[in-house]
Symmetry: C2
Subunit: 198 residues, 2 copies
């Protein structure tokens, strides 16, 4: 019913994660109704990002400079390297943890079922960085999913030849979490990781 141009806009919005056909229509119409407040600024921001944002050649982060501002930061500890799956995980580490080392963004996980082999993610670059010899600890901050843990095991094997510690995030009771909502695996992990009360 709507003009072809509007339909196309709504279809493209609907391809974004988190937007179904219904919310894409709502978002598209909101922009068209308020072009100066919504559409024009977004158009400008997208054009700017398309022009300026690039993938960091060192770590895989997204930034307007390459190497990215994290890789360039001289205050960070070059001995500490945190491996994450996606750019959003890097941002979460920065926002929530204030990690002060460097990162390596794999850009995904290995997956036997979906056929994602080591060449499909940034593993070669990681090994190269570690082979450089400055890294003393690699933190595997990967998801506690089957694919995340498969990837962690694989990376652990590949990192064995190098003289660096390999660690992973601790499992356990989420802060603020209640015991009776925990799944069995997490509760077992929390039990194994129990600590002396100070």
């Amino acid at each position: 019913m709507a003009a072809a141009d509007i339909e196309r806009l709504i279809r493209l919005l609907g391809r974004l994660p988190g937007l179904g056909p219904r919310s894409a229509r709502k978002a598209g119409l909101a922009m068209l109704k308020r072009p100066d407040a919504l559409l024009r600024p977004l158009l400008d921001a997208l054009a700017t990002c398309l022009e300026r944002v690039r993938v960091c050649e060192v770590c895989g982060n997204l930034d307007t400079v390459d190497p990215c501002s994290v890789c360039r930061d001289p205050e960070r500890d070059p001995q500490l390297l945190c491996v994450v799956q996606e750019v959003e995980d890097l941002w979460a580490m920065e926002r929530l943890v204030g990690f002060r080392g460097h990162y390596h963004v794999l850009g995904g996980t290995l997956s036997a079922i979906e056929g994602r082999s080591p060449e499909t993610i940034r593993i070669a670059g990681l090994l190269e960085r570690v082979a450089g010899g400055r890294v003393s600890e690699v933190v595997l901050a990967l998801g506690a999913t089957v694919d995340g843990q498969t990837t962690a095991h694989y990376l652990h094997e590949r990192l064995r030849p190098f003289a660096c510690r390999v660690t992973r995030l601790g499992h356990g009771l989420p802060v603020g979490g209640e015991l009776n909502y925990l799944d069995e695996g997490t509760l077992e992990a929390a039990m194994r990781a129990r600590q002396q009360v100070a």
Copy 2:
């Protein structure tokens, strides 16, 4: 943490209805990771819409032509005028009902609480169209909300002087709906609107 340009994109996406800060970040990152598949087509669609889409001066619909393609359609019954709140309601009527008359999009409702008076929505234009004398029935297809019904009552009063029928959508049991999930108001309305079984 992210570059200012990326942060701005995410902030602007978060202003769209249906996108919270979390889903805006996800959508923004998805675009940046796949610029050719997602960002560039969306940028192009937005630019095209900004350039071409306008509000129909007759009915308030959004289209790339003005008057819009609904207003221009010679197959439609000029005696039948359906009043809706928003453009999405017009589209719903077209998609779901295949209504074959004309429309008038108010662009909102009256609201005593939020202080929206008759001048803030397209009522003057509606009265002008009805005063033109070709309309024999005005269907008030407004929401069954307090504001929607306030608006319907107000329009009914303003349309009294004209020689046209004023109707509203029927209330009742939604098709596929179960009785025990209905609210009291809807069940009462359905009871009042009961019909002879043929």
